[in-house]
């Protein structure tokens, strides 16, 4: 089973490949399409999927690993 999860700048996580989306109790969540966008701003009305709300709230996030700045 290979799949990729890609953070898109200021937007969702895009998931591609062979994956299954499940609730914690193991029930499948129908992805609806081959490539999906998972919300990472926390404000989507159709969680766990992105619905574009991140743009309304000016969500900012990088596309790579963040490294904490030294204090």
């Amino acid at each position: 089973m290979t799949s990729t999860i890609t953070p898109y700048e200021d937007g969702p996580l895009i998931v591609r490949g062979d994956f299954e989306l499940r609730t914690p109790d193991g029930t499948s969540i129908a992805p609806g399409r081959a490539t999906i966008a998972l919300c990472r701003c926390g404000k989507s009305a159709i969680n766990p999927f992105c619905d574009g709300t991140h743009k309304m709230i000016n969500f900012r996030a990088g596309a790579d690993r963040d490294t904490p700045k030294p204090r």
């Binding site: 937007g11 609806g32 399409r33 081959a34 490539t35 999927f49 574009g52 309304m56």
Partner: protein, 370 residues
């Protein structure tokens, strides 16, 4: 010239002409391919090409030959040289007008295509048709909106598919990833065009391909012709991808509003499915379109960056005109469609338009068209 009893997929019957050029072309198309009069294009009357009913219908008549064709029209017209010559003349004035409307493009900072596209989209401040449809539109107004949109949605994604053979590499992969979803992953009942047909049905509207061609005004035809113009010229492939990106990037939020509007009017889940699906699908598509497709294109062909931004701006500009037209008509108590019946003139009262663009429209403006 295949005649089929199934009107769902076209070819549509020829629409009624709207002026001397479309009348001559319409007449010619009903007989075997032959040369059109060479000076036909000089009969366009020089009004704003985007509002010119005769010019926009002429373009639509020419372009449709490359999609589903016209019922009863010889398929060989598609490449008839004098028809192509007429089309080129109409395209030249149309493209020039669209370039003026789209305005100058912002510079691309260190090849950051996605941010440049986001800036174009954020700068779009047209009248918020979607907010009106969500909160205020009557049942009849919503039906009108759907009739306008049926010209595109019943062949949704088709114009952008013209880009496929013109691309290679990452941009092509990204476009395929989007188009596969638009075409329902190859499942007919999930194809976006088919979801739209259900919405038409639920609203008691005609689900035939091109059924409302006679009803829609020049501005609606222009939006469709823009996609065909970009799609049928390899030179404009950057603009075609920018156009698709702009559509995807301004879709999720308005589609949520359209769905809510239909629910407010008492329509069921089958009717809203097209819009609900687009909220979710286009949140995916917009990322792929901006970063992978347009970003991928300009990494390989950096000189196309300005075209991509032009295509995006043009898409939004024509959509703004459509929104203004529709809202102005409704605020003046008129239909946004052409009067029914062959040859019925459409009259636009300029003073009325100005009155309608006053306070009412201003209160409907939002920062984003999406």
């Amino acid at each position: 010239m295949v005649e089929s009893g199934d009107r769902r997929y076209g070819p549509a019957p020829l629409p009624q002409p709207r002026g001397p050029v479309s009348a001559a072309l319409h007449d010619a198309l009903t007989s075997a391919p032959h040369d059109l009069p060479a000076d036909l294009a000089s009969e366009f009357d020089g009004v704003d090409p985007i509002d010119d009913e005769d010019l926009q219908l002429t373009l639509f008549l020419c372009y449709e030959l490359h999609y589903r064709g016209w019922r009863g029209v010889d398929d060989r017209w598609e490449w008839q040289p004098s028809l192509i010559a007429l089309r080129s003349r109409a395209e030249a004035v149309f493209e020039a007008a669209v370039r003026v409307l789209a305005g100058p493009q912002p510079p691309l900072l260190d090849g950051r295509m996605a941010s440049a596209l986001a800036a174009v989209v954020a700068a779009d401040d047209g009248p918020a048709l979607s907010a009106y449809l969500q909160r205020r539109a009557t049942h009849e107004q919503f039906r009108e909106f759907v009739m306008h949109r049926s010209i595109y949605h019943l062949r949704e994604a088709d114009p952008h598919s013209w880009a496929l053979p013109r691309l290679g590499g990452p941009a092509k992969a990204a476009l395929v990833e989007i188009q596969v979803d638009e075409y329902g992953g190859g499942r007919l009942d999930r194809m976006h065009a088919e979801l739209f047909r259900v919405t038409l049905e639920r609203l008691g509207l005609d689900t035939g391909y091109g059924a409302y061609l006679d009803a829609v005004p020049a501005v609606t035809l222009a939006g469709n012709n823009l996609m065909s113009l970009f799609g049928l010229h390899r030179r404009l492939r950057g603009a075609l991808l920018g156009h698709l990106a702009a559509y995807e990037m301004t879709s999720s939020l308005p589609n949520r509003r359209y769905g809510r509007g239909l629910r407010r009017l008492g329509l069921d889940e089958a009717a809203t499915r097209f819009y609900d699906e687009h909220v979710e699908a286009d949140a995916v598509h917009e990322q792929i379109a901006a970063h992978d497709m347009c970003g991928g294109l300009v990494r390989v062909e950096p000189h196309l960056a300005a075209d991509v931004l032009f295509g995006a701006s043009a898409a939004l500009a024509l959509d703004r005109l459509f929104a203004a037209w529709t809202l102005n008509s409704w605020q003046a108590g008129r239909s946004s469609l052409r009067p029914h019946g062959p040859g019925a003139p459409i009259t636009l009262h300029v003073d009325e338009l100005h009155r309608a663009t006053g306070s009412e429209t201003a209160s409907l403006m939002t920062g984003l068209a999406c």
